[in-house]
Symmetry: C2
Subunit: 389 residues, 2 copies
Amino acid sequence: VHGLETADFDLLREQIDPLREQTLMSPGPTQVPPDVLEVLARPVLHHRAPQFRAALRGVRSGLQDIAGTENPVLLLACTGTGAMESAVVNICGPADTVLVVAAGYFGERWIELTERYGCDVVPLRYEWGGIPSAEDLDRALRARPDVKAVFLVHSETSTGVVLDLERFATVAKSADVLLVVDSVSSFAAVPIEVDEWGIDVLLSSSHKALMTPPGLAFLILSPAALEAANEALLPRFYLDWGQNLATQLGDEPETWFSPAISLVCGLEAALARIGREGLDSIYERHVQLGRRCRSGVKALGLELFSPDDDTAAVLTAVRMPPGIDSSSVVRIMHDRWGITIADGEARLKGNIVRIGHLGYVSGADVDRAVQALAGAVAEVAEVQRTEVA
Amino acid sequence: VHGLETADFDLLREQIDPLREQTLMSPGPTQVPPDVLEVLARPVLHHRAPQFRAALRGVRSGLQDIAGTENPVLLLACTGTGAMESAVVNICGPADTVLVVAAGYFGERWIELTERYGCDVVPLRYEWGGIPSAEDLDRALRARPDVKAVFLVHSETSTGVVLDLERFATVAKSADVLLVVDSVSSFAAVPIEVDEWGIDVLLSSSHKALMTPPGLAFLILSPAALEAANEALLPRFYLDWGQNLATQLGDEPETWFSPAISLVCGLEAALARIGREGLDSIYERHVQLGRRCRSGVKALGLELFSPDDDTAAVLTAVRMPPGIDSSSVVRIMHDRWGITIADGEARLKGNIVRIGHLGYVSGADVDRAVQALAGAVAEVAEVQRTEVA
């Protein structure tokens, strides 16, 4: 790694830095801004209090604004995977054929979920880190006219690939199948136009670009998705769209079960923050942060795993040089540099690191992460040289 | 209502009291103490950071201490109903006969859940507010030797009845059936001895006597429950015990999916608080708060709906006098007196109010709630007299 070959790593290792706080730059959970944290520390509202109903209304319309939709928003007290499972149990049946686009850990999760509920799954699989193509989807759908729904991941958090959702939606629409989109790490980081593009189910969660702690997920549901849910036969309760949505609609919304009250209030504050910054500015900032991160990583002589272009606006995945274990790099960045990033997921563990630059992240944060990455990679390399010698 | 017949309600109605905060005395969500709120406002930890693993270990052992158990604790990012559903999908199959004890809204939820998943449900039903008897359970189990599991609610939050769990457990044990206990509002308010009594599944959530916001649930699972889960056939993913537990066990626990990080950290602080107060003192305080509340309510000339004895340590349910709508009483207590209590649930709505005295509640809080109840009931009565006249 350039520029750190002569660093005194013994000195670094002995550094005592007790006041250092962690900067959270994983691709989720992400940093929560002070104004959102402050809301989390307020006394808890009752879930039927007027102030909480106002928070529900605010969250609903804030999420609709970001998604560009008038479709209803359904909040669930769970994380993204719960919302994914809700999509499967609310629109699928054991006899249904579904197509899943998978090019990483979370695409594989769609396959696992749909198979577990007995669907006939047509996988459109890519190597992890591959960029799914809408032409491939078009061909696959022509070959299998029995497909009822397509499941895909907008931003594959395990690889850093953000696919061209508008084109995928166009293909799904022309094939007249339901389109279910995991936008967990893309929502509020990358533009999404639910109504214009015709997305039937869009799901995301609180703890990515929405800058709120994990534990709150939501779905945006088209009339076709709700109609499919009405006819779907799989049993479900906690994740049932119809019963949950019925209580959340209207001017006096409440929730079927106890909602994640503090997270809803935190999200309301985060959405207000998003409103103040403005969506165009947020999307542009994410593009710029991605550029800044890639430029820094490449200047270190490291190789990108995520795409080297502006689609990689959510996170930057970096290949480790031969012999460098990414788990050690992540640990040293955490322990010594105060920067929390993520290791590779599952089969990529040990091989790549992932720097999240979504949500409440500044250019200076990205620069510090790159600096810490340089130091950590150099230290792991140095330790290995010492061990070999 | 004694003592408020001559109050000047016009004056009260015109009162401006902008600094008044709500005191949350519903039977859930409950008040969150300042030291727990402070933790919620700290920067979010990464779910694989050492500090978060320490929080997971602390929460696990703190919950085991309260439950008197060495059985494993499974955390889920959902509310109590999600944990209830997990019990059904992890131990039941469509052909299984289960017995449900139901004497209120949450007992009925067990019936709805088990029926929805195709169980053959033997209901042991009581009028809402009735006190289930272990002798009835014994008789019912003798009549139906095909019962595989018994589902019951320890503290029926809709009525204020806390059943004699030790005796129910003895009966279930001697019949050799699995016992599944909803202890959502009893856990940490009323003594529970999981290992001594032989409870197979005990579930609860963060937002009752555990003094943390809603969105985090947990289960304590016996070897027999886990064995049943291994053999159960219903598909499940987000709520699957085996896969979730496998990641949470051991000295380096993590979670299968993103956990509700801030709530886990808040719960760790709440458990530390519980450790400082001591369980014996907490249980005694809950008994005393129940006495204080019943005494105050009866002094007003109002009639109790929940039992008039020390088993009613979680909440006090109060019948409304003829013609007094409980919904109006709850609203006036909220708007004018700054006290949030709960209306009756479902078929009891309009007829009773429920004052929660579980978790972070003082005797002075109870006194203020009784005072506010007196004022609100008198005001509703006065309004009605005026309207009639």
